[in-house]
Subunit: 149 residues, 12 copies
């Protein structure tokens, strides 16, 4: 059971940017925790980061043959990219949207998620823990795609 974990633009700077919002750990530190959480759940994770919308789309396409679930933190692309949404929609792999901060409690433009309509669920505001919850969710759901309503 393999999960693709995708970090979007600027998440490579984790730990440097607004630590009161995003936490103090760096991306490699976060990734280590994600790997540990995955092992604890008997899952394999393939973790990647890109600042390029096109690359994220390519990876989502790859997931068709590669993974049985996606955990996606699309960063600021969450609010502007219809193409990411179409990509998730097209591959049909169960995808969970995660955010470190509670995007519904920040600036107006961060409250709208373009990608949500293509995801099975959304977890937002629990800092690093958001990723753990997403893995648990994919585990418990048994990776059979829920009907998105």
């Amino acid at each position: 059971m393999k999960i693709l974990v995708l970090h979007g633009p600027n998440l490579n700077l984790l730990g440097e940017r607004d630590p009161e919002i995003y936490g103090n750990a760096s991306l490699p530190e976060l990734n280590k925790k994600i790997e540990a959480w995955a092992r604890g759940l008997n899952m394999i994770v393939d973790i990647r980061q890109s600042n390029h919308e096109g690359e994220l789309i390519d990876w989502i396409h790859e997931s068709r043959t590669l993974a049985s679930g996606i955990v996606l933190n699309a960063g600021a692309l969450t609010h502007t990219s219809q193409a990411l949404r179409d990509a998730i929609d097209a591959v049909g792999v169960p995808t969970v949207e995660v955010h470190l901060s509670n995007i519904h409690a920040r600036e107006e433009f961060r409250k709208v998620s373009m990608i949500a309509p293509a995801c099975i669920g959304s977890i937002s505001g629990f800092k690093e823990l958001s990723y753990h919850l997403a893995l648990i969710a994919l585990k418990e759901l048994g990776l059979t795609r829920l009907k998105v309503v």
Copy 2:
């Protein structure tokens, strides 16, 4: 460690209404699962349901002396009640917003959460599992309130 679990308007009809969205289990069945999950996490839950906004506010106020965390599914009040938001804000007890369906993937009016800015995080779309994830989140966060950004 006691958690107040609040179900808002119409959730008492669970299992009868749009099962393809909300699942087939009734509210007593869901509550049994929540209690089991809580036991598994060494937590005590106090579960209540009301169709009255005022009663939900009263219970949130009660939580100050009663509980160290709140799991709140405010139903349709999520989208219209500023008073609920002010209540959460006022008591300062860490609150997790949950939804059975992915509200960001439904009708326009269901995409806006009035209560989100007062919650530490939001979990939406995982059906009954949403409540399990919320309990885990409160457990792992140690119930120390995160700064809402």
Copy 3:
């Protein structure tokens, strides 16, 4: 054949408030007429009034075992309550929305009905007669719920 007739907030003041809009009869007088109309149609009516959104929702829930149709004048909650709409939607009892005044001909905020999408039809502007028309409609429709489009 039993019909639940629900009057929402402020309708208990009927006859005192803006009689040029709402007519001169008091609520008890209106209720007498409704009972007479019902008898004339061989129907039984159970008439209630509340200023509490939660109580109206509770009564709509009750209607599942109690009534084969609902006539609902939700007063100002018509324009703000998503929870009422979800309640009607959830119980599946055929509901007719009525208004004494023509809400589409008044202030902007009274032109939008939040509950309409869950009702089989809407009657507005015929003063007390609106209730009579609603009873006739439920009678003639045979109380088999029409598909709401």
Copy 4:
């Protein structure tokens, strides 16, 4: 006592278009029912259909000397024609707006009625029965125009 019944654009195709919304009867069949309902109420009806906004306005003008009430289903012109509204307003003949489907429960653009502010009341969603209710309303109101609020 004579009533002008006006059907607007596309209602001549009744029975062919979206029968799950508009019913299976053709316009001549509906008109027969309207005539029967009118006879039952001791009313005479003059029924006409046009796809031309201008012709509908001409007929409304004619009603000043011809009829003591109007039942108007303006079809899609309901949502776009200020000129129809001005026509009803100008002639001062009591007019009831009817719709086969519940327009408040359909697409956004069908929720706004341009003509409502000039009508005494609005009946929407009861299929063919909407016309019967409109005739009853005009009968019971005694055709004295109510003050439009």
Copy 5:
């Protein structure tokens, strides 16, 4: 020097509708005044009224060979008809927009003129006198089309 004077929908009811807004004179009485004013200015007027948008467009097209100026009171079509605007734009005959009432001082929907961008000028609020001023304007301008800015 011939001027086409066009009255739009519902202006045939002049004198009957809201006399405090539109004045007491009937359309034939207004037309007599317009003819007298025209004679006083050494102009010939061809006055027509229609409730049909299409007929008004046909007449505007006719004006190319018929008239050296148009005075247009489009009634409620002022606010909804892009086709009228395109017609004026296409024929290139200098057109003055007139209104009996001051449309900028009435309901919101009457403040927007769809046809104004194709007219050389607009006169609004002087009741019958609006037509006189329009004729004077066309006279003094010598009917050479001003550049519409």
Copy 6:
């Protein structure tokens, strides 16, 4: 001369919530001051608090026989409740809207008052003193309702 003083949702938590906005005194302490101010003005006050919109409406209805004026701090219901506004409108008892904080200087959603159109005046921003000013206003106005414009 009796005045009904109504506190809306969450005001029972006064002194605990955002003291830099709402002040440090608890609700019982505030009520004591209000009673003292009333005595100084030779008025009797009946002070109540509820988190239930319906209960506030019930009390406003009661005021018809009970009080000659209302001081209303509707809390967050100020911004969402059309039913409260209709209640004030219906009873015709002179009502003064008060707020502890200057609602016009806070978040966008707090700048709109749904109830203002039914009140004779509005006092906002003077903390506890807002209530004193409201009592003085009702006193000096002699409790004859001013025409609301």
Copy 7:
């Protein structure tokens, strides 16, 4: 195989109005080309023009027994007529929307097509050639209506 080609308001002035947008050919000249293109594709065309919305609707209704496809340039009615859209929707004859100019590259109000949701496709910006492409499209599609998404 017969195609109904409909030109809407003001297209009878083709060649006179803004030739840099609409080209220099007159409507009879354009119609000759359309007939030639149709012959080349082994199709029969029935070409009509009207400035009357109602007449266009009548013709679309006629198409049910007359034609196996419609090519429609609705002119300015494209942007304002819901009744045209309902007409196309009701008859179920495959319809292609054409425009001489690229409406998406002009004034804001010309970017919205009210009729598009009822058409199988839209061709815009190729001047006279737009009609040729529409005929080819209907030919190649074999006139079996595509599902409109």
Copy 8:
């Protein structure tokens, strides 16, 4: 019979600014024409120009004892000044709004007139002639204020 003619901001630069919109004559030249037109109508004009909103308001206030009518070209203040509108409203002297260019045919922000609701009528687009038409209007209306609707 004395008329106050007021030119607002930037009209002192007439003849220098965009002559294709505003014409070639300077303000003194325009004022000479206005004086001649007034003489021809047996009226006396008092013409003033200011770039100061406050000064224009002062002059409108002065008009109460000074003039029996106002011709006002408020320049860009037309679109932003509620205070000018209140001034016209307060003095009750019949006021005609004039514009050299057709403001309804220019940029979006120039289509809204803040002062129109307080004026008896509006004349726009006839360049210098707009002032002549305004004087004629005031003359023929006999300076009895029309009811503004």
Copy 9:
């Protein structure tokens, strides 16, 4: 203890303009009352009126060395002047916004106050009494500026 009382545009016409909204007293009469109220509170008032936004700004600037509080009725500038707001903000003198009428109960454009975010509080709707309440407020607050939230 000296207070600057500023009246904005058109308030010099008090008593002449819409007396049902603004009362019957003239400005000098109102000023006499204000002076009497001030004496009763042991305060000195310096009362000024101007129709010029710039002059009001100059006076607010002056208040830094002149006064310990400002009572400001900005008239229609309330709704359009960001510069007034910046002026109040810049001088830091406690300012109370007053209005004779309840601006929240009038036309839409009068519901928005541009200056409120810089004021400690707002009093609206009590006619002349609004000024008395403002003086009492400044007195009781001890003129120490409250934190504007």
Copy 10:
């Protein structure tokens, strides 16, 4: 005569994603058809696909020396990319916008095309055939750029 055919994001998944909207053929299958259609028209096509906005811009820049026309299906970037529009605008190579589905008949966000103002025309809704029509259009237009209006 060489044409650059560009497929935007997610089009590489053609045949897998929503076949009822986009058809059953895969991208290689579609490309084969395009090549065949091009040969039939005596054109050479250079077909490329990318999920990267930047790469699409690079290719459009390349077209200056490479191609005499562009057929562009920008996928979801159609609705969000101003940079693509500027690219087309900058190179001046005649570009035809194509879509498999009728974008004007789908979700709201898909109705707006950011790139349309830089294209000579738009073809939408004919599935694979859209590409054939685009090639024919470029052929018949002789590849001399039309003035974009």
Copy 11:
């Protein structure tokens, strides 16, 4: 080579108001720096400040014979004054808009510049240095007006 430097409303309070936004220097101190910078660039500056929109317009008009360039900090009038924009537009003297703070990074209402469309360029956010950059820009541009696009 003479430059008119204009400071708008509230800039006379520089150094007192929000020093973390506007810097600590007073206006005389800033003016000294501007004079020094001008001397270093071989330019003469005429520096003025006013809180009156009308006076700023008068000075801009004066600039026609007085100056070969304008540096304008319009303060809060930047966001509300169409009259200032028309003034700059009318005189045709090259004008550079400056702001001490980065207006694009502050409150929503400060992000819109009404005057920008009439200026050759805009410099915002560099505190006092903004003026220096504006002088350099006017110097290097040689004061020949660039075409405003």
Copy 12:
């Protein structure tokens, strides 16, 4: 002292595209000037161009160790990219936004800058000179980041 100068999408076509807006020089020619200006200011510049949003983000991240300031012309991404804004925000290197044309004087969609809230200042409209001014600004500010307000 090293400055990173970044050119966004389509700037590689400089000199070919709309020279009346963007000037006649090519990008290499502009870069030469930038280098000369930098030398004159004793600065070193590292100049790059990309049509890829992701690449621009990567370079901004690189700047943390590479440069003490950024000059950024983001081209059309200025108006759509929240990710670029987050990148600037995250690295904390002082960034100046530059534009060749005055974006505030062009199409509506070009007036909004997504990246401005993360920049210390913005320079717009001075063609090539905009870059020179940006370098001077960074020089004079001493590259200590100003607080963004």
